[in-house]
Amino acid sequence: MGIIKDIVSPFAVWKHFFKEPVTIKDPLNRIAAPRYRGFHQNDISQCIGCGTCEAICENEAIDLVAVAQTKNGDSGLRPRVDYGRCCWCALCVDVCTTGSLKLSNAYTWVDTDGDNFRFTPGIDLKPWDSLKDGYTKAKGLELYPLERMPMQHLHAHQRDNSFIEIMKGYSKEEAMAEADRCVSCGICVAACPAHMGIPEYIKAIREDNLEKGLQIMYQTNPLVEICGRICTHKCETVCSVGHRGEPLSIRWLKRYIADQVPATDYYRVLNQDKVEKNSRKVAIVGAGPAGLSAAYYLSKLGYQITIFEKLAQAGGMMRYGIPEYRLPYDQLDKDINYILSLGVEINYNTTIGTNVTMDELHANFDIVYVATGLHEGRSTRIPGTEHANVYQAIELLRKITENKPIEVAEKIVVIGGGNVAMDITRSLARLQKQKYGKVQTIATSLETEDIMPADREEVIEAREEGAIINPGWGPREIKILNNKIQGLKVVQCISVFDENKRFNPKFDESVENFFEADMIVESIGQGMNLSFLTEKYAEQLEKDSRGRILVDTLTYQSSLPWLFFGGDIIEGPDVIHSVANGHKAAKGIDNYLNSIQK
């Protein structure tokens, strides 16, 4: 029986003869699944050319080719895909820092020439550019952490009455975890004015080779402890990880390296190559970041350096402009002392023009490098600013540093929205807390909160500490009654810049406000004082239409060949710019002296 069944039952195949074929009618135009990993698309305007796609590509199918004009945070490169290598794994899509790269669900590309299979998505137009479907990175799939490793810090109630440093720095684990987030793209290097080797020193952290990291950092920046704390971190603004997540805390990683290497080891770590001293002498005016930076690199080149500093201690604005809770003096001294340990001479309390003249400098030194910075506060010049209780932020900060007594009023209004304004606001808030037990400081600025120049975290922390930040107001008048300040009258500011992006504030006079205050601090910017140059030299210097000294942008040499300028008076105000131009000036000086000697 079984055999008959076995012979009969196979004829069941004929059942299918009468069913419709399952063939796809038009396979050539079949649309793939919505998630299908087909050919590449790239949103050129979003892409920053970070090269993570190139780095992840295990087949070396992706190459970065130059296509666009380079702009800030954009390398000007775009990925070119070689379909003679690609395996459509879409890891490039998963790691794309901006999310610009995706795969469409087009899949047909037939060609007779194998050389044609290379193209730059988004630039070489392809039929699938307009396709909507295709593979994109799924929400919830991240191949590197997007969240920043938080740093241990003092809470508002722990810090609001003292000048103890707020940020505690990374522990080793934290630093490693944070350094691990780096995708080593190198976009940050260009954004950094000093072009520090950021990916390299982050790599050194991952490798736990901090001495190597320190060496890397000192190649371009001799003030790493300082920059690790107070740098304006242009690198973090452009950090490619920051496009979809939080940027790497590059500044804190820098600080981590500097913190971990004890000051006693600096000389051993950094002075491994012997420097031949020469007899050329350079005078540097101002022991601020630019001066120190130039001094460091010049002394590395063998020059004999003498710094003339007006104040009692070195550091310039870093010491006298930045409160201690952001930059403790011992850390500042760590960097400065190392520079001084290289044989740099420094004359404190020496004012040019008073203690020593420019002529003497010119006579005694081959080169004079002037980096005196911006130490003169600017006034709003509204009615009432001449009152004694109207201060300049920069003066007050210097006094706080010098431990000079300050009459801290009960109610204070700070005019200004920059970092200096935040510094003075928070410093005064602390003094108020110490004196009165409560904080009554208001900071107001022209710019509304979204365009305030101050760092975001500064504003947040200031608020945590009890200060009131109330931006978007234009100061009109300081009300004074009986020679006592009553407060500040302000009107609403509608816009700060005109369509040409020039400073041209517009106000809505109908909306007024009044901030009560006993004391008013102006912090709307600083100016320079170059009176020490005397007319003899000042006249010889070329200046632009707005009266700024013209220098060579690469060497910082002025029209007087022996006179170089740098620091905030040329660029800034900003530590890292000063460091950078100090470094460039050092190279410029070296080149210049070498060239005239020949």
């Binding site: 012979i7 890891l91 191949l143």
Partner: protein, 397 residues
């Protein structure tokens, strides 16, 4: 009576060559008694791109030698110069019909060594992908096995059914053949909307066809004639020849990695390990057919039990900088051909020190096949080979 003798030439076996003093066969090709026939690499009766060199006497094979290496790409070398994450797209190429097992084993190795724990949802999705891979692997096998006997009709159907599963794969993973779905730390995406319903529809259609295939193939006089009593694997060969998977289960062994060393979510699924005693080609084919039905059931269970939402990817360290402490591990999973294993050695760098792929075909297609082909009819060579379900790339990698 020997099982071999029962169904073939009724014991009329005169073709055995004599043995030389050293034990090797005394085959003098110039005597014109024996000829060499190469089956493969370009041959329809060979699984993939490999070759079997047959020395035949009349219709009977007296010696067989497997030649592999036609697909050798040096994966194990290439993996040593790629970062851990970069190997994920590479490993799936080791075994084309079921790439997911490679992805799973590789990722699990890395997770074991790096101490990454995978979210629950990801385990469900991985199990789903693995079972789908098994389903399409078996479907392709059934088509191939029938096709080897000239039964193209079943081959046509089963390839259509496989395409249905591939459609679902495409929808789930974005790839038809190479899914690259399982990454270190989890999977790459959640199931899409409406996937479950479409999958169930497909499964229903597959089940319908399976009923027909049961009637047409397994109740087929000629198929039975060709397969019963042929290509027998003796139970005592299992360990000496390293036989695993359906080949071993058809010989009475009960080993199934899914039950013995549960991975993924198999411990929460309800299924039975099928086994058989006959150990011939028919038994192996029927066992695979039964496992295919089990797979369909498993996929249904997975779809039912899978939680909605949830994390499908662990928080993994930056893949660009992922470095794994020194160590070694071995991870196995049960693919359609049996135990599929990855042995990984890490040395603390960002690149694996060594990855060794243990494909079941490695033992099946070389030592075992050479043994089984002896005294086989030349027309059965393809049939025996297909019944072992060998796949050359995992032999030579």
């Amino acid at each position: 009576m020997n099982k071999f003798e029962k169904f073939s030439f009724d014991g009329d076996r005169t073709a055995y060559p004599n043995k030389k003093a050293d034990g090797s066969l005394d085959i003098d090709l110039s005597s014109h008694k024996y000829i060499k026939v190469w089956q493969g690499p370009n041959h329809p009766g060979i699984t993939g791109n490999m070759a079997v060199e047959l020395t035949v006497c009349g219709d009977e094979v007296v010696e067989a030698k497997t030649h592999v290496g036609y697909l050798h790409r040096g994966f194990e070398k290439l993996m040593e110069r790629r970062r851990y994450i970069q190997n994920c797209p590479l490993v799936c190429r080791v075994s084309v019909p079921e790439p997911d097992y490679n992805e799973f084993n590789y990722s699990t190795c890395v997770e074991n060594l790096a101490g990454i724990s995978v979210p629950d949802k990801a385990l469900w999705l991985r199990t789903l992908a693995l079972e789908m891979a098994r389903l399409q692997g078996y479907l392709m096998w059934i088509g191939g096995a029938a096709g080897t006997l000239g039964f193209g009709t079943v081959g046509q159907w089963s390839n259509y059914l496989r395409d249905l599963v591939l459609d679902r794969f495409e929808e789930l993973t974005g790839g038809r053949i190479y899914h690259i779905y399982i990454l270190i730390g989890g999977v790459r995406n959640d199931i899409p909307v409406g996937f479950k319903q479409r999958m169930l529809d497909n499964l229903r259609e597959i089940e319908g066809f399976m009923k027909d295939i049961r009637k047409v193939l397994f109740d087929n006089y000629v198929f039975k004639k060709r397969t019963i009593g042929l290509g027998i694997i003796e139970p005592e060969w299992i360990y000496p020849y390293g036989i695993v998977g359906p080949n071993a289960r058809a010989a009475g062994s009960l080993n199934d990695v899914r039950k013995d060393y549960p991975y993924g979510k198999y411990s929460e699924l309800d299924f039975e390990v099928k086994t058989s005693k006959q150990s011939d080609i028919y038994a192996r084919a029927y066992l695979r057919y039964e496992e295919l039905l089990t797979d369909i059931d498993l996929i249904k269970q997975i779809l039912d039990k899978m939680p909605d939402g949830g994390e499908f990817m662990a928080n993994i360290p930056n893949v660009f900088n992922l470095e794994i402490p020194a160590g070694e591990t071995y991870v196995r999973s049960e693919c359609t051909r049996g135990e599929y294993g990855y042995y990984m050695v890490s040395d603390g760098s960002g690149f694996p020190r060594r990855v060794n792929v243990r494909g079941p075909s490695y033992t099946h297609a070389v030592a075992l096949l050479e043994r089984m082909l002896i005294n086989a009819n030349i027309a059965d060579v393809a049939q025996i080979m297909v019944s072992l379900h060998t796949y050359p790339p995992e032999i030579e990698r």
